[in-house]
Amino acid sequence: MDVVREVLDKPVVDRNGREMGRADGIVLAIGDGQPPRLEAILIGPVVLGRRLHPSIGRLVGALERWLGLGANRPVRVEFGDIEMIGQKVKVRLAVGDTGADEVERRLRRWVIRLPGSR
C-alpha cells in the first residue's frame, strides 16, 4: 500500500463518524530491507506547519502554547486504532477523548452564548 497517497491528507473520522481533522502527518517505521510500515497518524496544525518548514511548525507550536492548548496535541492515532482506510480514515477512538476537537470546544463556549446557536 502506498501509505503516503492512501493516508496522508485524508479526512479522519472517529468511531461515531465525527470529523477529527485530516491526517496532517504520518509516522513511518522503517526496518532493514522491509517496506516502510505505518506506525501512526498525526493530526494538528503544528504538523502541517512543520511540513512547510520547521520554523513554521515551531511558530504554530508557540502559538498553541500561548493559547494554552493542551499538551495532547498534535493528536497521535496509533496504527492499531485505525479501523478502515477508504475515502476517509476511520478510527476506533471518540473525538472527545482526544485533543482533536479542543479548539472546537473552546470556541463553542463562546458560540453557545449567542442566540440562535442551536
Binding site: P11, G21, R22, D24, L52, L107, V111, I112, R118
Partner: protein, 404 residues
C-alpha cells in the same frame, strides 16, 4: 416536477449570483471606452466559468468532495497552501470591495456617506448567515438578484444594432489604447472566473447532497445559469457603450456608472442602478463570507456547513466571522472600493493557472469522478484556459501598471 422547479431555481440563483462589483465595473468600463468590442471577453470568460463550475459540481456530486478537499487529498498540503492562501487573500479583498459596492449603493439611495454604511452592511451579512440556512441564502440572494435584469432591459430598450453587436463577439485589435484594451479584457476574465464562485458552487452541491442522479441538473444549472448571468454583464456593457461612450464618460466611480440608466429609466435610473449594484454586491458578500468558512473547514477537516446547528460548527462560524470582520476593517480604513476590486481581479488572474491545473488532473481520475471523467472537449477547454491563464498571469502585472 420538483426537480424541474429546483433546476429553474438553480438557474435563477446563478443569474442573481453572477452580478457583483467586479463584473459590473469591468463591463461598464469596457463598454464606455471600447463600445461593443469587448463582448467576446465576457462570452469566453463565462464559458470558462460555466465549464469549471460544472466540473466542480461533478466532483462534488460524484466524488463527494469540494475543490478545496480534493486538491488537498490529491496534491497534498504543500501544493494546496498556495491556492488556499491566494484564495483567502482574494476572498478578503473581494469581500472588502463588495461591502464597499453595497455601501455606495445605499449611499446613492440615502445621500449619506458610504463609510457610514460599511458596518451596518457587514452586520447584515453576518446576520443573514447566522440566521439563514443554505436554501434561504441561495434562493433569497438569487430572487432579489433578478433586479439586475434591469441591465438587460436597458440594453434591449436602447435598440443596439445587431450587426455591430455580433461584431463585438469577434476579438479584434482596437485602433486606440491597445494596452488599456488588453488590460480590460484580462480584467473581465479575472472578474468573471472567480475562485470563490467555484468552491461555493461545489460546497452548495455538497450542502444539498447531490448525487450522480443530479449530474444533468448540475450541467444545466452551470451552463444555463452562467449563460443567462453573462447576459446581465453584457447588458451592462452594451448600455454603457450606447449611453456613456458617446459622452466620453470614463467610469471612475459607481456614481458615474449609474448615469448609464438615465435614457431608459429616467428618474428611476439611480434607484434601479443602486438596487442592482447593492443587491448584487450584498449577495456576493454573503457568498464570499460563507466560502471563506467552507474553504478553511474543508482544507483542515473541520465539521462545516450552514445547515448544521451553529454550536456544532464553531470553528466554521468563527472562521467566516473573522474573515468578514477583517474585510469590514479594511473597508472602513477608507480604501476606494473600485481600486480594491481591480487589485483582487488582477490577483485572480495571477493565480488562475494554479486554480485551473488541478481540474485537469482531477477530472481524469476515477477516484474523484468515477466513470464521469472529462472527454476531449472538457480537457481541451481546460488546457486552453490553463495556457491562456498562464499568459494572462504573466502580462497582468505590467498591464496593471500601464493600462490600469
Amino acid at each position: 416536477m420538483k426537480k424541474i422547479f429546483n433546476l429553474a431555481l438553480g438557474i435563477v440563483t446563478s443569474i442573481g449570483g453572477f452580478v457583483e462589483v467586479g463584473s459590473i465595473s469591468t463591463a461598464a468600463q469596457a463598454g464606455s471606452e471600447f463600445g461593443f468590442s469587448l463582448l467576446w471577453a465576457i462570452a469566453i470568460a463565462s464559458l470558462f466559468l460555466a465549464a469549471l463550475a460544472e466540473m466542480a459540481g461533478r466532483i462534488a456530486a460524484v466524488g463527494k468532495r469540494s475543490m478545496a478537499a480534493a486538491v488537498r487529498e490529491r496534491f497534498g498540503f504543500h501544493f494546496q497552501v498556495i491556492p488556499l492562501g491566494a484564495e483567502l487573500i482574494i476572498d478578503v479583498l473581494l469581500l472588502t470591495a463588495e461591502l464597499g459596492g453595497a455601501a455606495i449603493a445605499v449611499k446613492m439611495l440615502t445621500e449619506i456617506g458610504f463609510q457610514w454604511w460599511i458596518l451596518p452592511i457587514g452586520l447584515a451579512v453576518w446576520l443573514v448567515i447566522w440566521l439563514g440556512n443554505f436554501s434561504v441564502i441561495e434562493d433569497g440572494v438569487g430572487l432579489l438578484g433578478m433586479v439586475t435584469l434591469s441591465f438587460v432591459v436597458s440594453a434591449w430598450r436602447l435598440h443596439p444594432q445587431v450587426a455591430s453587436l455580433a461584431h463585438g463577439f469577434i476579438p479584434t485589435i482596437p485602433h486606440h489604447d491597445l494596452t488599456r484594451y488588453a488590460f480590460l479584457s484580462v480584467s473581465i476574465v479575472g472578474a468573471t472566473v472567480s475562485p470563490y464562485l467555484l468552491n461555493f458552487y461545489a460546497s452548495g452541491a455538497l450542502e444539498e447532497k447531490w448525487t450522480e442522479q443530479d449530474l444533468w441538473v448540475n450541467r444545466l444549472t452551470a451552463y444555463l445559469g452562467m449563460g443567462f448571468g453573462s447576459t446581465v454583464a453584457m447588458g451592462c456593457l452594451v448600455t454603457a457603450a450606447i449611453v456613456l461612450g458617446p459622452q466620453h464618460i470614463k467610469v471612475d466611480s459607481y456614481e458615474e456608472a449609474a448615469r448609464m440608466f438615465v435614457p431608459v429609466f429616467g428618474r428611476w435610473a439611480v434607484t434601479l442602478f443602486a438596487l442592482s449594484l447593492g443587491i448584487g454586491c450584498f449577495g456576493a458578500a454573503v457568498e464570499i463570507t460563507l466560502n471563506a468558512g467552507y474553504v478553511l473547514g474543508q482544507a483542515f477537516g473541520w465539521t462545516w456547513g450552514i445547515d448544521k446547528p451553529r454550536r456544532e460548527v464553531s470553528r466554521f462560524v468563527t472562521a467566516l466571522s473573522v474573515v468578514l470582520l477583517l474585510a469590514v476593517l479594511i473597508a472602513l480604513s477608507g480604501w476606494d472600493p473600485l481600486q480594491v476590486t481591480l487589485i483582487s481581479v488582477a490577483l485572480t488572474v495571477v493565480i488562475m493557472p494554479i486554480i485551473v491545473l488541478p481540474f485537469l488532473v482531477l477530472m481524469n481520475e476515477e477516484e474523484y469522478v468515477k466513470g464521469h471523467t472529462s472527454g476531449p472537449i472538457g480537457n481541451g477547454l481546460l488546457a486552453v484556459l490553463t495556457i491562456l491563464g498562464a499568459i494572462m498571469a504573466l502580462i497582468v502585472i505590467p498591464l496593471e501598471i500601464f493600462g490600469g
